[in-house]
Symmetry: C2
Subunit: 210 residues, 2 copies
Amino acid sequence: MGSAKISKALLKRLPVYLNHLKSLPGENRNISATAIARALGLGHVQVRKDLAKISGEGRCRTGRSRDQLIQDIEKYLDFTSRTTSIIVGAGPFGQALLDYSRFENLGLNIVACFDLDPISKQSDSGKPIYSIGRLEFFCKYYDVHIGIIAVPAEDAQAVCNNLVSCGIHAIWNFAPVHLKVPDGVIIRSENLAVSVASLRLQMRANEGTE
Amino acid sequence: MGSAKISKALLKRLPVYLNHLKSLPGENRNISATAIARALGLGHVQVRKDLAKISGEGRCRTGRSRDQLIQDIEKYLDFTSRTTSIIVGAGPFGQALLDYSRFENLGLNIVACFDLDPISKQSDSGKPIYSIGRLEFFCKYYDVHIGIIAVPAEDAQAVCNNLVSCGIHAIWNFAPVHLKVPDGVIIRSENLAVSVASLRLQMRANEGTE
């Protein structure tokens, strides 16, 4: 499979296609690249190219099977297998991520949360929240592959080091801080500050031109 | 001020600089672009250029005042003023955003949450949660500028339309769906599915090369 070489831009569009296809009413229906492009405000040449890459060439008149396309995109994005993951940080944000049911459809199986000082033993949906002291044993026993960081910025590097020393090689960081990881460890950071700044600067620019 | 013309890449680096500067111990200290670059794993030419843009040229020997640099970045990113914002969707994720205290440091003042069927009248931190029926009155009375969408994908477009009709011209969308907005309305979507897919595809690529 060529999905390791998938471009960043295509990677951004594929979940958008997927959501759109899943949101369409009716079963066993067909859909054309042009209709998808129109609904999503994208160029039809782009959409046709993307879909051809994922799902082969479509037919001119009948379009593509919606269900087949959903299957192909999910397979391409590897949403059909499961990656065992844990969260460190049982604050409101960490627990919201823990209970966010949609992650399972994306192949992310978040099995537990860890905290320095857990106030509750489980989340609203019943997932376990453990003391951080149990992290190492848990990671090795359950073969955890992704560690999600949802602690304050000042604690994030220590948590990151702890996760790496527990054998975790992929980190998803929600703390607003730059984390250092050894070679071979994958890190992805969500920086909501960038979004807030971008939104507010765009607003100000628009106000300036009105 | 030139911040309306700020490049995307610089916009991503500025909050990272800011967090780093704030995390440094000690008061009234000076810091050089080289030290910042080293700490964050960035090129020193890049950092020097960025800081010169935001804060003027630094001095070769003494470096820059850390506190002045923090002030200049916050001013550049407009984090020192406040934008009144509301959230629609009082599920765990919406409430986590509502109570995320760090947003205030970014100039985002989230004053209330709205839901079709509010289970509670306030969040853990005491912010009000209202029925969606009160949205229009509230937005006009309190001069709300940003609407944050934290509802399921299938409800997001209707909520978005509602926000726009209430006079809101900037939308921050956490629902995993493409939203259509009229010209002049700014929209920014966070798509966590893209992050999950990217992280898992990178992991798979790494496993393939080991």
